[in-house]
């Protein structure tokens, strides 16, 4: 009974993708969602799935520099476009400034939501937007975190946007 699961797929096609700067070809049904292809075909599991419905933002990736929820995007729609995942943000082993800020602020608890927040914030930073705290909070309405209460995440992004944070924790 066992056989390659690809034979199961209705209308699997070979599709060209550009992911984190690399040209790859994946075999997938055109309506498979980008998140599944990234995770299961390309092993890029840094992109998380929290809801598969566009509600939580865990699956956020950049497509041509724009943050989208990859659980909703058919892979065919990403074909030929530039996809950046959390794994593609580091350059030469150096953390992206947003990753560094999240690390500096110990913004992760369980960490499941974190790649989505970082990718979303990376778009903001790449656009050169310098947001104050209120604007950062508003920019995050599409991402859910259940652990942190968002405070440390907001601090990290405010920091990455070039503002210091006014929060202090005595130790």
């Amino acid at each position: 009974m066992a056989q390659d699961h690809r034979e199961q797929r209705n209308g699997a096609e070979r599709l060209p993708l550009r992911v984190n700067g690399d040209d790859v070809e994946v075999e997938a049904a055109p309506m498979s969602v980008l998140a599944d292809v990234l995770r299961d075909e390309l092993g890029l599991t840094g992109t998380k799935l929290g809801c598969r419905a566009g509600d939580c933002g865990s699956c956020t990736v950049l497509v041509d520099g724009v943050a989208i929820t990859s659980c909703l995007m058919p892979v065919a729609q990403a074909a030929g476009r530039d996809v950046t995942t959390i794994e593609g943000l580091e350059t030469d082993g150096e953390l992206h400034p947003v990753q560094q800020a999240f690390s500096d602020h110990n913004a992760s608890q369980c960490g499941y939501c974190i790649p989505g927040f970082i990718v979303a914030a990376a778009e903001t930073v790449a656009n050169g937007e310098v947001l104050d705290r209120e604007q950062v909070v508003q920019s995050l309405s599409g991402n859910l975190c259940r652990c942190t209460g968002y405070e440390s995440i907001v601090d990290a992004i405010v920091d990455a946007c070039g503002h210091g944070t006014d929060r202090e924790v005595a130790s």
């Binding site: 840094g46 369980c110 960490g111 909070v137 975190c145 405070e151 005595a170």
Partner: protein
């Protein structure tokens, strides 16, 4: 924005500074189990030791995406498992036809109840839940069949191809009818009845206030759905990578259901995407192992969000009737309460949840007498079990609403009323247990009230700051502001005579570069709370070295107990400390030999052991040339007793207290709420990692705010109506209030390092504080959480006390 104050200084505002540690950041100066040489180490501290906001060891992998959650695990040969669930809340299974599913290409196994080789049921305290339903299903979502297939979509199609004929049975969905309705399970419909009688139960007060309160069903809503990878092992057993809160209790249940000896079931913690109580019970553990053994191949299972809502236990919905008696001066005379919890279809941890609800029914107050009757029952609603706050959340909502009613009846400031009755060390709670440890109830209240209130609304504030946010429906001139206070008591660790323990193994050796490093092996489930950081901090401080490696959490070492009940810092932190102590003594022993001072009291400093008498020293690295030092220790907390027939007894180990003051803006006509600020004082014993403590406080408050104003699983005729994040709303960044926190540090006697667990209290009293603030703004009674728009717009008016704090501190 969070403002944070640590230590005792914040209480100075009220002129009643409690007995706290000195302000010097002594690392282990007051640790009851600190090893010898403690005082010296406070001068020469190792980097990132106890008391510092050390970084998480998993911090970098969590920001690069490299951290592997259990849902990220993969094996070349793996199959995908999937569960068929009951669409009915109560039905007889007439027949199951799996032939079409089994014949589908790519389907490798289809298993039913009769394929479970061992025990047919599982459960945390009572094994009453079938691994797979055989004759009857008792809740929507109960597992009926499982399949393994080559591709997840094939697995999905296969479960849809299984034909089950159900005959619906009468529904039991009203918990009030459970005790008198025909049993829906062979074990009956009542999980536990717990009466409590304390003092003169016939006493009456000058002033009596009554109320009836309800708490809806809250979901833990962790972000990473249930997932696991099971691999058959060569010895006929199974290897399971799983996100859970308690590896060993999972292992024991899996082994029993698989009819395997425990040593053939090996569990390793996969990365956990949040827990909050929902991963304490078995969900897919047995299923995925069954499929792996049946197919002889690795099997991965991963719940969808909807399946996650159906596949784990929730917070118990509660109905509570309260009557408080007090004297004219506000002194509480008696608290009476009837508490009914809906446990849903299976027992889970219902009996322990009820014990908490009953024991803490009167809150953190001195009460001369109490008459409490608690019951938790079985229904055809979704099963309920552990969630952060564990039974105390429900009663805290009620007793705090009662305290405000009482304040109104007495025309007394609600803060004054609470301070007047606040428990202090030496007082007894209503179980008769005396508080032998710290009890800074007054201090947490005063600290919460001492924080400045949020600024008045600005005319130029963006509309999004109004209640309702981006909907732009509230008008500035309609918005009213309110504040409210609530206070809580929570037990730490397990109660009622349970001999709880944690195990840890510590090994100290030198790496090839000659540097000493320690390896900590603990089965403690890191679910995001930061135990991994703490284990490193403890080891660094105890052994005077910087490099500490964490062995994967697995069942290759003894149990660490559950990551719940705010217990891991105390229990597993204590176990790590004990193991370090033993290694430390071994080091000193070797040092005496090397230095030739058999009887001298030597001192461990960062990197070396010193003879204070002569100044002679020897490097730790040198002492390890004789080989590694290793110790495995178990840490048990002080014993507790059971509750007697009157609910009396020393059933709890320790208690933590918190106070929350909420400030809200409300549009009373539209029923829209914006929670602006939560100010809190929390009793933490010692803050071992202040930043991690603050993280727990902020995250816990978010969940408390969620229960106050938005989170509820809607169940109609036993069916869940909103199993998605589209319809079950949790707070977003826009919903999160600013948090102003003061940590009250009074080291707890008997606690490792004097530290109390901090995870649960923020969730408990933040909910009633928010509701009190909404009452203050609207004048509505609001006896149910979550508060819905219609409750504000059309709800009954209630008795409103003077605004919290109007006549006292703050």
């Amino acid at each position: 924005m969070t403002t944070t104050t640590c230590g005792p200084s914040s209480t100075a505002a009220t002129g009643s500074a409690p007995a706290v540690t000195g302000s010097a950041p002594a690392v282990t100066g007051s640790a009851p189990v600190a090893p010898p040489g403690t005082r010296e180490r406070t001068q020469r501290r190792v980097r990132d030791g106890l008391g510092t906001s050390a970084d998480r060891p998993d911090g970098t992998p969590k920001v690069t995406g490299a951290f592997a959650f259990s849902s990220d695990l993969h094996d070349q040969r793996m199959l995908w498992g999937r569960t068929l669930r009951s669409p009915h809340a109560h039905a007889r299974i007439v027949s199951i036809d799996t032939s079409a599913a089994a014949a589908m290409p790519g389907v490798v196994a289809v298993l039913l109840a009769e394929d479970v080789p061992g025990k047919a049921t599982f459960g945390l305290e009572h094994t009453d839940q079938p691994v797979l339903a055989r004759d009857v299903v008792r809740y929507e979502g109960e597992a009926v069949a499982i399949v393994a297939a080559e591709h997840p979509e094939t697995a999905l199609r296969a479960i849809r191809a299984i034909e089950v004929t159900y005959e619906p049975l009468p529904l039991l969905t009203d918990p009030a009818e459970a005790a008198t309705t025909d049993p829906i399970h062979p074990d009956g419909n009542v999980f536990r009845t717990l009466p409590l009688r304390h003092g003169d139960v016939d006493a009456t007060g000058d002033v009596v206030v009554e109320g009836t309160y309800e708490v809806g069903m809250q979901d833990q809503a962790f972000l990473g759905p249930e997932s696991a990878l099971a691999l058959p092992s060569d010895d006929g057993g199974v290897e399971l990578f799983i996100s859970t809160q308690w590896l060993h209790v999972d292992r024991d249940q899996v082994a029993a259901c698989l009819a395997l000896p425990a040593d053939q079931v090996h569990l390793t913690l996969g990365g956990v995407g949040g827990a909050f109580g929902a991963r304490e019970d078995v969900s897919l553990q047995v299923h995925v192992c069954l499929l792996a053994l049946a197919t002889g191949r690795p099997v991965k299972m991963l719940y969808s969000r909807a399946e996650s809502f159906l596949g784990h236990v929730h917070r118990h919905p509660a109905r509570m009737r309260y009557r408080h008696h007090a004297r004219r001066d506000g002194t509480l005379v008696k608290v009476e309460a009837e508490i009914l919890l809906d446990g849903g279809a299976y027992a889970s941890s219902s009996t322990a949840v009820l014990a908490n609800a009953v024991c803490f029914a009167a809150g953190p107050y001195r009460v001369e007498a109490a008459r409490i009757d608690g019951q938790v029952v079985r229904t055809n609603n979704p099963p309920c079990g552990a969630m952060r706050g564990f039974g105390v959340v429900q009663v805290c909502f009620a007793h705090e609403a009662q305290m405000d009613r009482l304040a109104a009846a007495l025309d007394m400031d609600p803060v004054e009323l609470r301070l007047h009755n606040a428990l202090k060390p030496g007082d007894a709670i209503i179980t008769g247990q005396r508080l032998t440890g710290t009890a800074p109830v007054r201090e947490v209240i005063e600290a919460a009230m001492a924080h400045p209130l949020p600024p008045d609304p600005r005319e130029d504030e963006p509309a999004i700051a109004l209640p309702g946010g981006a909907g732009l429906t509230a008008r500035r001139e309609d918005v009213r502001r309110g504040t409210g206070i609530a206070v809580s008591i929570k037990n730490l660790m397990y109660s009622e005579g349970f001999d709880d323990y944690s195990t840890a193994r510590v090994r100290l050796e030198t790496s090839p570069d000659g540097e000493p490093f320690a390896t900590v092996h603990s089965a403690c489930a890191e679910v995001g709370q930061g135990f991994v950081t703490l284990a490193q901090q403890i080891t660094r401080t105890a052994l005077g070295i910087e490099r500490v490696v964490l062995h994967a959490a697995d069942t290759g070492v003894g149990s660490a107990g559950s990551t719940s009940a705010s217990r891991q810092t105390w229990m597993s932190g204590g176990a790590v400390q004990l193991a370090c102590d033993t290694v430390h003594h071994g080091l000193l022993e070797r040092a005496r030999g090397v230095l030739g001072v058999p009887d001298e009291p030597l001192v461990l400093e960062p990197g070396r052991v010193v003879d204070p008498a002569t100044g002679a020293e020897v490097a730790i690295a040198q002492l390890l040339r004789a080989g590694p030092l290793e110790a495995t220790e178990e840490h048990h907390h002080a014993p507790t007793s059971t509750l007697d027939a009157d609910g009396q007894g020393d059933a709890h180990v320790s208690f933590a207290f918190a106070a929350h003051r909420a400030t809200v803006d409300v549009d009373p006509d539209l029923g829209l709420v914006r929670v602006l600020q939560i100010a809190t004082g929390q009793d933490v014993g010692r803050a071992l990692n202040p930043r991690a403590v603050i993280g727990q406080i902020e995250g816990g408050i978010a969940q408390g705010v969620g229960l106050a104003v938005m989170e509820e699983i809607l169940v109609e005729d036993g069916l869940v109506r909103n199993p998605s994040f589209t319809d079950y709303l949790i707070p977003t960044a826009l919903d999160m209030p600013s948090v102003a926190a003061t940590l009250i540090e009074q080291p707890e006697p008997g606690a490792p390092f004097g530290a109390k667990g901090v995870g649960e209290p923020p969730t408990i009293s933040s909910t009633p504080a928010v509701v009190a603030a909404i009452r203050d703004a609207t004048g509505k009674a609001l006896t149910r959480v979550p508060v819905r728009a219609q409750d504000i717009a059309f709800g009954e008016a209630g008795a409103i006390p003077p605004t919290a704090g109007s006549t006292s501190a703050g």
